[in-house]
């Protein structure tokens, strides 16, 4: 009964303070608000681009039926074309997400692409004369905004972008009649000089230059690049008398997804990314709750010692009762922290339709390993708290404990990479690291051999028993010991002594 009174006070005194509220609750609260608000905020779609692109085509190429780079670009920027691309893009993402994550993935993808792509832009392609003054065209871009129909970009296609140049003029011969003129122009030595490379026997093609207004993001830049390149390639292919579709058919292979072969059967390979995030999440949950709870425990023990309330308490309860009550109370505090973070995590995953990643059994095991980790580290922290009088003095004793706690962070990468290696298995059986290693491995991709779960839990219980036994002894001596803080050797002596 008294143990519960102690635990209750401990819980209220820790979890009921403003510091706790801020330290533990504000962070996840902020996260929750962000997670819930962010999609709403993104609902405010990015601005729609309205304006024109000026094209200066210096190649002079004109294909069958009067097709030019300019006309192809115009075609590519027709509203219908843009709308179709838009739809295809979001459909593609949806399909990819659906194949990986099912219906939920599709829904998430459509929402996300919708928000990412924004409205279909309205863009007019203006074709300027091949010899237009680039500088004055640039000046035209300096006024207006990206939404009011002003000049957004200037694209200048190099003279050699379609036909290219080689050492032998014959190589540039094309069946196009219009091309002959250009060819002649190109062979004007003064103009071609800089592009020519004597040693190169390959056809050397020119490129294009693009000038854009500031504050145009990738939603504008990406398609612009793509469309200009497409138009140039198309022109080159036609100029060479080839069939574009045939070339595309020849050069493309549909991408495939590797299939994992496991003893349980075949399945689509997960990218592994989610698993790493889950493992990281699980470990951090455990880490944060254990660290916080353990530190609170140490602090309250030190507070009771330094405020000299300890002996008053010991007149009513035995050191063992006091210690048990405090550990219980702080365990509830740590559980509260864990519950808050898990809830925030679940809300977040739900928000992004990732909830299926969580295995309920894994969550249950997380709680089991939490108890082991907390009782192990928490009691150690209580022992340290009982041995010192001031928080400052605790630092030197705390360093080794912190070092042990950092090991799982360092081991995170090797553990997720090969969760069932000999190394991972060995690490899972080193008491203070065991619960952390196990939660990482639980969330990692490969399933753990089943026997290891009860085995590590049994080991955990055993080590918790030893830790509590030792702490009880240190606690009993430590709580009334004032003055010079003991070192680890002294603590071990106390354990042996009592």
């Amino acid at each position: 009964m008294k143990i519960f009174d102690v635990a209750r006070r401990e819980y209220i005194a820790t979890a009921g303070t403003k510091g706790f509220m801020f330290g533990v609750l504000v962070f996840p609260a902020l996260m929750t608000v962000l997670i819930i608000l962010l999609p709403r905020l993104i609902d405010d779609k990015p601005p729609k681009y309205v304006g024109s692109i000026v094209l200066v085509d210096r190649t002079g190429w004109e294909g069958e039926g009067g097709v030019t780079i300019g006309s192809m670009l115009k075609q590519a920027y027709r509203p219908e074309t843009l709308a179709a691309e838009h739809a295809a893009q979001s459909e593609g993402t949806e399909k990819a997400m659906e194949s990986q994550f099912g219906e939920a993935g599709k829904a998430a993808a459509s929402k996300i692409t919708e928000q990412m792509l924004g409205d279909v832009p309205e863009i007019d392609v203006v074709i300027a004369a091949p010899d237009a003054d680039i500088e004055s065209l640039k000046d035209e871009m300096k006024t207006g905004t990206t939404k009011d129909g002003s000049r957004l970009a200037l694209v200048v296609i190099d003279r050699e972008a379609v036909f290219g140049t080689t050492e032998e003029p014959e190589a540039n011969q094309t069946p196009e009649p219009g091309a002959d003129e250009n060819q002649e122009q190109e062979q004007d030595p003064g103009q071609v000089q800089e592009q020519e490379q004597e040693q190169d026997e390959q056809v050397k093609f020119g490129s294009y230059e693009a000038f854009i207004k500031p504050k145009l993001d990738d939603r504008f830049q990406g398609p612009l690049r793509q469309k200009v390149v497409d138009a140039i390639v198309e022109a080159r292919v036609r100029a060479a008398g080839q069939d574009r579709e045939a070339i595309t058919a020849l050069t493309s292979v549909l991408p495939v997804k590797p299939v994992e072969v496991t003893p349980e059967g075949e399945r689509d390979s997960l990218s592994g990314e989610q698993n790493i995030w889950m493992a990281m999440g699980f470990m951090m949950l455990l880490w944060i709750s254990v660290m916080n709870g353990g530190q609170f425990l140490m602090m309250t023990v030190i507070e009771e010692k330094s405020s000299r309330v300890m002996e008053v308490l010991l007149s009513a309860v035995s050191p063992r009762q006091l210690m048990t009550g405090k550990i219980l109370g702080q365990m509830c505090v740590a559980l509260t922290i864990l519950a808050i973070y898990v809830t925030v995590g679940l809300v977040a995953l739900n928000q992004f339709n990732y909830l299926y990643l969580i295995d309920v059994a894994d969550l249950g095991l997380l709680v089991v390993y939490f108890f082991i980790a907390f009782l192990l580290m928490g009691t150690l922290m209580a022992a340290i708290g009982s041995a010192v009088t001031e928080i400052m003095e605790a630092q030197s004793l705390l360093t080794p404990v912190m070092m042990v706690l950092i090991i799982p962070l360092i081991l995170f990468a090797p553990l997720t990479r090969s969760p069932n290696s000999v190394f991972s298995t060995v690490v899972s059986f080193i008491p203070p690291i065991s619960p952390f290693a196990m939660v990482i491995r639980l969330a990692a991709s490969e399933p753990i051999p089943l026997w290891q779960i009860p085995a590590t839990i049994a080991l955990g219980i055993l080590s918790v028993y030893v830790a509590i036994w030792a702490t009880a002894k240190i606690f009993r001596i430590g709580v009334l010991m004032y003055g010079k803080p003991p070192n680890f050797r002294t603590l071990i002596k106390w354990v042996r002594m009592a």
Partner: protein, 329 residues
Amino acid sequence: MSDAIIIEGVTKTFGEKTAVDGLDLRVGQGAMYGFIGPNGAGKTTTIRMVMSIIFPDSGRLSVLGKASAVESKDRIGYLPEERGVYRKMRVGSFLSYMGRLKGLDGGAALNKRIHDWLERVGLEAEIKKKCEELSKGMQQKVQFISCVLHEPELLILDEPFSGLDPVNMRLMRDLFMEQHERGATIIFSTHVMHQAEQLCDHIVMIDHGQKMLDDSLDAIRDRYTPRELLVEARDSGHDLSVLRSIEGVGDISSLNGATVVAIRNGDDPSDVIARIASSVAVRRIEIKRPTLEDVFVDVAVGGSERSAAEIREELRGASGVDLRQEGLS
């Protein structure tokens, strides 16, 4: 009537130092026991062993009929020397917590009791305040309430007066007496002799972990028959050195304007008084009652190579402030 506390041959060492050395003690029920001795004599160690906070290396303890205080903690009130409160806790909740730890049921009855007690010591307005907002004296009252809240049968007070002003000291003393009248056995330790003298009916004196004295206050006074007289001449300018020539008078010294006359061994004090009165015109002449301090010094001198003056100095050094307040209390 059984004894509230029985200590038999209890020894406790801390490393090299023997804090308590083969102590035997019996405290009868309902007694008001004074535990005196200089700092470091072993008082707190003994009390902590009685409270089962530390355990003796050897010897036997019995508290309220049980083998250790662990089994009867709810019947004991303990005000340790190293005492404190939860700084961030409110006075009311602190007392309620301590009450529940002492086995009281929480709820309206406990709250009423806390309220009544706070009212008695004049702290009813502070019930909602945080403990850190109270002055040291106020905190001490709160601590005292926390150890009598459950109406203990045995009350152990370790240096209860340290740090109190005379007004609060008197208040505390009245509260102790009240507990005593209620029938509680009270043990209180102090290094300030006159406090024990004023309160206790039984004195235990400890020095260097050993019991030097264990008797009722009256018996102690009887045993240490007065060997000194206080003499004040009617005319303050009168030279009292003439007293030296009177038969039975030993050393003469002066104390606060009066003259202390030592009586030679073998002479009856009343004979000496008669002889002084007949030879000098005196305003006052009285037998100087031995104070506990005198007794202590007397006892301590017997057991050590230190001189009486050294021991007196040690005692006063340790308790200078409290001694000066003698006149006020």
